[in-house]
């Protein structure tokens, strides 16, 4: 049985519904004892900036800030696409809990270790 699970997320405030559901599914994975990683790329990387997600709250879901905090509390990891982050001029010294800036090799390594993934 696969023990690694990856959620690819490339949206933030440009599609708060997808951003929220991505973390809901990530929380289901980490709650189910999967080694879970959310890979943030393109517009999704904005979620790694503290405070950015504070005003994202989709009807029917917990606020995104709470979903992300619980994900980190449960041991979930967030990988943040380095070039995507840089090209948006974001501050790499300030990241939300559980987040790490990575390059493609780190993602490839994780996925190559028999991981399952879902994309939003």
């Amino acid at each position: 049985m696969n023990t690694k699970f990856c959620v690819n997320l490339s949206f933030s405030k440009n599609d708060p519904d997808k951003a929220t559901v991505g973390f809901v599914i990530a929380n289901a994975a980490v709650a189910s004892n999967k080694e879970t990683m959310v890979f943030l790329s393109t517009e999704g990387v904005r979620l790694a900036t503290p405070g950015y997600a504070d005003d994202i709250a989709e009807p029917g879901f917990a606020p995104l800030k709470e979903l992300m905090a619980n994900f980190a509390k449960a041991g979930g990891k967030i990988f943040v696409c380095s070039p995507c982050f840089k090209r948006r001029g974001l501050d790499e010294t300030k990241l939300v809990a559980g987040a790490t800036i990575v390059g493609g090799a780190k993602l490839v390594e994780f996925l190559s270790e028999n991981a399952s993934s879902v994309s939003f």
Binding site: F23, V24, I25, A26, N27, A28, A29, V30, A31, S32, N33, K34, F61, A62, L67, N70, F71, K73, A74
Partner: protein
């Protein structure tokens, strides 16, 4: 509360219990009848009884 929010909260609550202790969960989410048995299978907890929306789960 349902889906990932529900099972993550469930994980936090179960972690506070001693092995063999049962938790009575009331989950009205329509996905719960499929999700909760799956979660129990993956996490080694035992679904003792399920009568939606009532679930009794024993910590494994």
């Amino acid at each position: 509360m349902g889906c990932g929010e529900l099972v993550l909260e469930l994980r936090f609550r179960m972690a506070e219990l001693a092995g063999g202790t049962q938790l009575h969960l009331i989950a009205s989410d329509p996905g719960a009848p499929e999700d909760l048995p799956a979660w129990c299978r993956m996490t080694g907890n035992r679904l003792v009884r399920a009568e939606h929306p009532d679930y009794w789960i024993e910590r494994g």
